[in-house]
Symmetry: C2
Subunit: 455 residues, 2 copies
């Protein structure tokens, strides 16, 4: 299990050979000064406290714990409020100046030496889906909290102010982070969430003020960088034994409804060569979607998750089939290229099956690439920590994609066992969480010296 | 429109050249003696009265007529009872001795010259599906009635007794004909039909006695032959411009539920090459079913009419797919051959998609081939009447398949416009119905001279 390689064991001595004239001090030192401008220089020897992090992951899991071993800490529930208060306490203990904005985002500010520098942001969410697990959002929230505690314990002084953040209602619509991007629509506030409260009511419960939501909006350039540590929610890192995923971005998504029209007919009296079978056409399209998405270079994915036929009896040739098509890619142009190839195949399938196939797009979510410089820094940090790593897209959505609207973002993935997510079985090894938090810390310190825009 | 060739116009003179030393008399003769043993000799010059037949088709259509131009003459409804009474009147007028058996079958007996000969049977059904059309069942019922009227008008004497029959509840389970085969289960009598009456109540409404249903059962050999004229309910004759279908039999049917098990997964975080997509496997199976059924010589048909996937969301790779498979063929071995080939393809699909596919059979209906001698006679009759004809399976079920359990059967198809059936748009040209009734008459007369068993 090479991936289970544990930095706590390989530890501080590992980088001795690589250290070369850079302002770092051993972890035992009382004060570590971050600084310098070298973008790809070696990382600090500072390490987070893996045991403390593991203990806090366990403590957080108590809020909203359910009998299945998972959590029901849906946004705006009492468990969510209690957990936020607990996090706020940890942050105060770590010397952060805490506050809640009008959008219910919980902030923890740590001043930098340069009061004019835009802040470096880091954080995630602590709300869960109903019947969720203990890692989605929580790894990033506790990882950031552990970074704050480590900086505090070692009295590290950064140039940039640091803004630690817990975004509310990620699972129910990324409300907190989208409010920062100015994307929350007035009507969304009336949506009833899994907590039983509307989003508007929920924000008030957190100390926000939905009537003043527009004030939460951040300007482009108002943040030096945002970093989010998160579990992969897929099985790539786990299966391939890779420690760290260097996220290239959150994929864009387009979804279509495909309508296939043939001719309903008696299955007994209609010879095979005289059919206009909508399901046959749909089946060939499903296969074509799969083979097309695989045949084009890239890591795009195309999925048919839903299908229905009419009339739907064993002895009737379906006259109509309706299916969904979803394509995801880091590039919206990539999505369009795959779709165009699929549409060409659909044309041919329609002709060979005597059916008509039409596509209607019903959903679009823009791709949010991470900043190339932050990718490089994450990759360097992981490598210098002795962690195997791989560049990869994030197929799922995250708060980081909202922040990407107004600033450079980066994401760090740690393995999800068997790729399971949004279920009590969701699991990430404590050693992987510790690895991720150390990459987060080192990335932060490097960006402090060398931010994306070079401010 | 070569198929629209109308025998009323080509008429009696057509066979002059073919007549050769056989006991026939011109239609103008008061008495036509059927007889002789030549199995493939020319037909009689006797013809049914197309205008009377057309008028009676229109009259029958009044019983249960609905606003859509079709009929709601469901079995056991008042319209069904009224129509039966009307038919009974026509039969009495045609000299038949009418009766109703315990299974609600309406009989019209016409004695033959040989009291020891088993009867020749002919007839069909007059009940419809809800919202049905005016031709399914009615063409055969009125065709047989027209044969009775023609024999009566021309005082034709047959050797075999003739049994005209209207079977009750064909559309709701072929109750009347299946009772003759001893196939009606006790529990079926409690099924509530579209009329609102149970089958048991319905049989009593027709004058039957469900408590004595077993008495309806006929022994093997108790009938010399059964003939049924019917609309094709498919589009082959209409599309290809063929006048008469020489039915080779009613196809057997087997139906399976196919269960495909893969792995439910996040459509965004699971790369294409790591999926175990149950819908992809199901789609390839649908295509394989179609291509396999077409690649094997024969006229078997294989249909997937139903499909469902779980969980069924656009952004989730389906972990499970369930579909129906139906195979029909004139030979049960033929069905098994096609199924075996499909099962082999399923095995390969399971391997290539990392899914498991399993089949569970839930329905079997035995094939009912028509008697080869009767096919020959039908074909000869059609040919000698100057009607284009083609041998073909019946993909739909008919009362004839019940009768095949205890005696030789034959069926004659006439075209269904555009293959439409079980709908108000169901239509067969009056000329085609007349052609069919003439083939029915000639086949009957030839079988009277030369029955299948040679009795």
């Amino acid at each position: 299990m090479q991936r289970r390689h544990f930095t706590r064991l390989t530890g501080a001595g590992f980088f001795g050979a690589a250290l070369s004239g850079c302002a770092v001090a051993p972890a035992a030192s009382a004060r570590v000064i971050s600084g310098g401008t070298r973008p790809s220089g070696p990382t600090s020897t500072l390490r987070i406290d893996g045991r403390r992090l593991e203990a806090r992951m366990r403590e957080l899991a108590r809020f909203g714990a359910n009998a299945a071993g998972g959590i029901d800490r849906v946004a705006f529930s009492q468990a969510d409020l209690d957990a936020r208060a607990w996090v706020r306490g940890l942050w105060t203990e770590a010397g952060l100046d805490t506050s809640t904005d009008v959008a219910g985002n919980l902030w923890g500010r740590r001043p930098g030496t340069d009061a004019t520098a835009p802040p470096l942001m880091l954080g995630s969410h602590i709300d869960s889906v109903p019947g969720g697990g203990n890692f989605d959002g929580q790894v990033g929230s506790m990882g950031a909290t552990e970074v704050a505690a480590t900086l505090h314990a070692h009295e590290v002084q950064t140039r940039h102010p640091l803004d630690f953040v817990i975004f509310p209602n990620e699972e129910g619509g990324k409300t907190g982070s989208r409010a920062l991007a100015g994307q929350v629509e007035r009507m969304e506030l009336d949506i009833v969430t899994a907590s039983g409260h509307t989003i508007g009511e929920g924000l008030r419960r957190l100390g926000g003020d939905p009537a003043r939501l527009a004030e939460a909006r951040r300007n482009v350039g108002s943040v030096a960088a945002f970093l989010e540590l998160h579990v992969e929610q897929g099985g790539v890192l786990d299966t391939d034994g890779v420690d760290i995923g260097v996220v290239e971005g959150i994929v864009g998504i387009k979804r279509w409804t495909v309508d296939v029209v043939g001719t309903t007919n008696h299955a007994g009296t209609t010879p095979m060569d005289r059919r206009s079978d909508a399901l046959l056409a749909a089946a060939r399209l499903v296969d074509a979607i799969h083979t097309t998405a695989r045949s084009i270079p890239g890591r795009q994915v195309a999925t048919v998750g839903r299908i229905a036929v009419e009339p739907g009896a064993p002895n009737v040739i379906p006259g109509r089939a309706t299916l969904s098509l979803e394509i995801r890619d880091l590039s919206m142009e990539g999505i369009d290229t795959v779709f165009a190839a699929i549409a060409r195949r659909a044309e041919a399938i329609g002709q060979e099956t005597r059916t008509t196939l039409s596509f209607e797009r019903f959903y679009t979510s823009g791709a949010a690439p991470t900043h190339p410089h932050i990718r490089d820094v994450v990759e360097m940090a992981a490598t210098e920590l002795g962690l195997s790593n791989r560049r990869m897209p994030s197929g799922a959505g995250h708060d980081a994609q909202s922040i990407a609207v107004f600033g450079p973002v980066g994401m760090i993935f740690v393995p999800s066992r068997d790729g399971v997510s949004h279920a009590p079985e969701e699991f990430t090894e404590p050693s992987d969480i510790e690895n991720g938090a150390n990459v987060l810390l080192q990335t932060l310190l490097t960006l402090d010296r060398s931010p994306p825009g070079g401010d």
